[in-house]
């Protein structure tokens, strides 16, 4: 057992820190630091800056732009990026569809999509959840019926995050209705400019437009857009969701946010009620970070450690608790979320409540925290 990073890993950390704090455009990092919404252009520029340096998709196979890093180095990359206010490469591209295509797609699909996916030349959207298929995802009803060289897709997807920017959508569709529900699902890539596909915004409680509904009416999709084998989509989805859970504990960004909260609190930290709340949060985050490091150290075979459910569960709780702290620090100013140029309310107070409301999502997405408890009880404790 040892505490310190090896010289090699420490040098790696310095290298990452140097890159993230000097090479990523300042306007983008400022937007993240101010907790303001990033524009599509900012997402794209950030990812392209990383990709140019070979730092956008380290989790991919080396031949497609990945890095032969240790799990610890990948963890350091992820943490340093968050600490430097650099937006993480678009998850739909970098940690969801990219690894699935790389692992299960045909050579043709890989060549066609992977370089453009890494560089965010294609913006991917996720078409998994449906109005009646949330935590019970396998009960999804969007169908794809084979007609010659095409599938005809009908149905509806929902909670499609940033679907308004999407060029392509990766979907789970039912290709066989007559078998056990998990056995009749396929993983299909669909051009969002296809006739019959429409995207409708869903306004959320924070007033923002982050998620969408996507409707499919007789959308024709070439069979070449199928990833892997027909009716094997559930296996690919489980692979994808396992990857999602590992990166879903946002330790670095929550630590950074708590540090911002302390700065904002300033002299108010002499209040023992506030300072003990902050200290308790900080200790909780420390335990989370150290658990993430333990999980990283034991996931050398590339499979997610079962304790990654702990990271998702506790990581999202702490993320929510820190956003809650900022609302409390803002006090009555937290009501001024719609204040404009003439207002004296500081920027951080204006964004505090919308972000607090927005982050209630964190314990719901990526497998709700109740699903995580089910996983822990079932697969770890054998209950």
């Amino acid at each position: 057992m040892k505490l310190r990073l090896s010289d090699e890993d420490a040098a790696f950390r310095d290298e990452m820190r140097e890159f993230f704090t000097t090479k990523v455009p300042q306007d983008i990092r400022d937007t993240v630091a101010a907790r303001r919404e990033l524009s599509k252009d900012q997402f794209v520029r950030a990812q392209q800056t990383l990709n140019e340096a070979g730092l956008a998709v380290p989790n991919w196979p080396v031949e497609w732009g990945g890095k032969d890093w240790t799990p610890l180095q990948r963890h350091i990359w992820h943490e340093e990026m968050q600490l430097a206010h650099v937006p993480i490469p678009l998850a739909f591209n970098a940690s969801m569809v990219g690894p699935v295509i790389a692992a299960f797609g045909s050579q043709e699909l890989k060549e066609r999509f992977l370089p453009a996916t890494a560089n965010l030349d294609i913006w991917w959207s996720q078409g998994f959840s449906e109005p009646d298929a949330g935590s019970d995802l396998a009960s999804l009803r969007t169908t794809a019926v084979r007609d010659g060289d095409e599938y005809v897709v009908n149905g509806q997807k929902t909670w499609t995050t940033l679907g308004q920017y999407g060029d392509w959508i990766f979907t789970l569709v039912r290709t066989n209705p007559d078998v056990k529900k998990q056995a009749g699902i396929s993983f299909l890539l669909i051009d969002m400019t296809s006739p019959g596909l429409t995207v409708r915004p869903i306004e959320l409680i924070d007033g923002g437009h982050e998620v969408n509904e996507v409707f499919f009416e007789d959308v024709r999709v070439p069979v070449g857009n199928l990833v892997g084998e027909e009716n094997k989509g559930w296996d690919y989805a489980k692979f994808l969701l396992g990857n999602e859970r590992v990166g879903v504990a946002p330790v670095g960004s929550t630590k950074r946010l708590l540090a911002q909260a302390k700065e904002i609190a300033g002299d108010r930290l002499s209040d023992p009620i506030l300072s003990s709340r902050v200290a308790e949060l900080e200790n909780g985050l420390l335990a989370l970070e150290l658990t993430a490091l333990r999980v990283v150290a034991h996931s050398a075979d590339g499979k997610p450690h079962p304790a990654s459910s702990v990271l998702k569960l506790r990581g999202t709780e702490l993320q929510q608790e820190v956003t809650e702290l900022l609302v409390d620090l803002a006090g009555p100013d937290s009501l001024a979320s719609g204040a404009g140029d003439g207002s004296d309310v500081p920027d951080w107070s204006r964004v505090a409540t919308p972000q607090y409301l927005n982050f209630r999502k964190a314990s719901i997405y990526g497998g709700s925290n109740e699903v995580q408890r089910q996983i822990i009880a079932g697969t770890i404790l054998g209950l």
Binding site: M1, K255, L269, A297, R314, I376, A377, L381, L383
Partner: protein, 372 residues
């Protein structure tokens, strides 16, 4: 950054587990031992000495094994796993630690040599009686006497030697007192967790001074080491309490089905696992800090003990509740685990004390870096 044990440490762990498993194979075995005086097995104490466990933190020149915090943590965790009542942390880490930090060459070789060999038990008398009677020292050079009352002194009645803190004109002093010293009165009793404690009254009692000048820093550093070792003992106890509870949920039937049929109970068991993994991470880290960055050991000890406080209450309380009535009985194990966790929490500063310490410095840094 590496959280895995090397093969030598694993061998030590397995050897300790073997010895303790033979004495405390069941909860009833332990109850029988703790019901008799001195509240632990002298035989097992000797066997721990044979394994080298009682000399782990001391240098070879002092008769010890020259090992470090990692080896100590492994032994403490095994003690906690079966609630072994031998005073490992009390005698070796805390009392022995004070001698190691404050004693001169001859004092260390004598006291720590005998302790490592299992010939003596040490007790640390560091808590002044809450009823008043702060222990003060008077004298100089080789001639000192102590007056005042310490209570509770864990294993204070059985101990062959007492390591006592007392106020001197130059600050806090650390002293050795022989069990048969004049003016020493020891009143022993049982503690709720099956352990032993005593009221120890000094009245012009002759004592030998360890070190000179104000020894407050020595005391605080040694307490930090003991907090970390106790945190490992607590980890062992929590792990057993959780596993026992999970097994019970799989076998206990009500309404014609096993309890794990009920999602309300399964979810609560899942939350125990979450607490367990989080506290394990912090406590392991605190030992790594002690080994590799001792300048941060006090902070790490406070963080570990705070996490142990939160997790210990959660796991201890839920272990009983999820068992139902059987968990309340002295015959069954889990209640004793909660009792021990409660004792550990309130010894050397509870969760609130640690939080107070951490809260006072929370504005001194931005992002907390566990490695740097």
């Amino acid at each position: 950054m590496d959280f895995t044990l090397d093969s030598e440490t694993i061998a030590l762990r397995d050897a300790v587990r073997g010895v303790l498993g033979r004495t405390y194979g069941s909860s009833e075995d332990r109850r029988a031992v703790t019901n008799d005086e001195p509240g632990f097995s002298e035989d097992t104490w000797g066997k721990l000495a044979e394994l080298g466990a009682l000399g782990l933190p001391f240098s070879e020149d002092d008769g010890g094994a020259g090992a470090g915090p990692i080896e100590v943590s492994v032994v403490a965790e095994e003690m906690g796993r079966v609630l072994a009542p031998e005073p490992f942390v009390e005698s070796v880490v805390l009392a022995g630690g004070l001698v190691a930090a404050a004693g001169d060459d001859a004092q260390r070789a004598d006291v720590l040599g005998r302790l490592s060999a299992g010939e003596i038990v040490l007790a640390a008398a560091i808590v002044d009686s809450s009823a008043g009677g702060e222990v003060t020292a008077s004298g100089s050079g080789d001639s000192w006497t102590l007056t005042g009352v310490k209570e509770p002194v864990l294993h204070g009645a059985r101990a062959d030697l007492l390591v006592v803190t007392a106020r001197t004109d130059e600050g806090l002093g650390i002293f050795l007192v022989e069990a048969d010293a004049s003016g020493l009165e020891r009143t022993g009793y049982r503690t709720h967790d099956g352990g032993r404690a005593a009221k120890v009254a000094f009245d012009g009692t002759p004592a030998v001074r360890l070190g000179s000048g104000d020894q407050s820093d020595v005391l605080e550093d040694t307490i930090a080491r003991a907090r970390i070792a106790y945190s490992h003992e607590a980890i062992g106890a929590m792990d057993t309490a959780m596993k026992t509870t999970v097994e019970y949920l799989k076998t206990r039937k009500q309404f014609g089905v096993t309890l794990n049929t009920f999602q309300a109970l399964k979810f609560r068991a899942a939350d125990l696992y979450v607490s367990m993994e989080l506290v394990r991470s912090t406590v392991l880290w605190s030992t790594l800090v002690l080994a590799d960055a001792p300048e941060r050991a006090r902070e790490a000890a406070a963080r570990a003990k705070l996490q142990v406080s939160r997790a210990g209450r959660h796991i201890g309380q839920e272990a009983i509740q999820l068992h139902g009535g059987i968990g309340m009985t002295a015959e069954y194990s889990v209640g004793h685990y909660m009792s021990r966790l409660t004792a550990i929490e309130h010894w050397l500063g509870d969760g609130s004390d640690q939080l107070r310490t951490l809260a006072a410095t929370v504005g001194d840094h931005g992002v907390l870096d566990p490695i740097g």
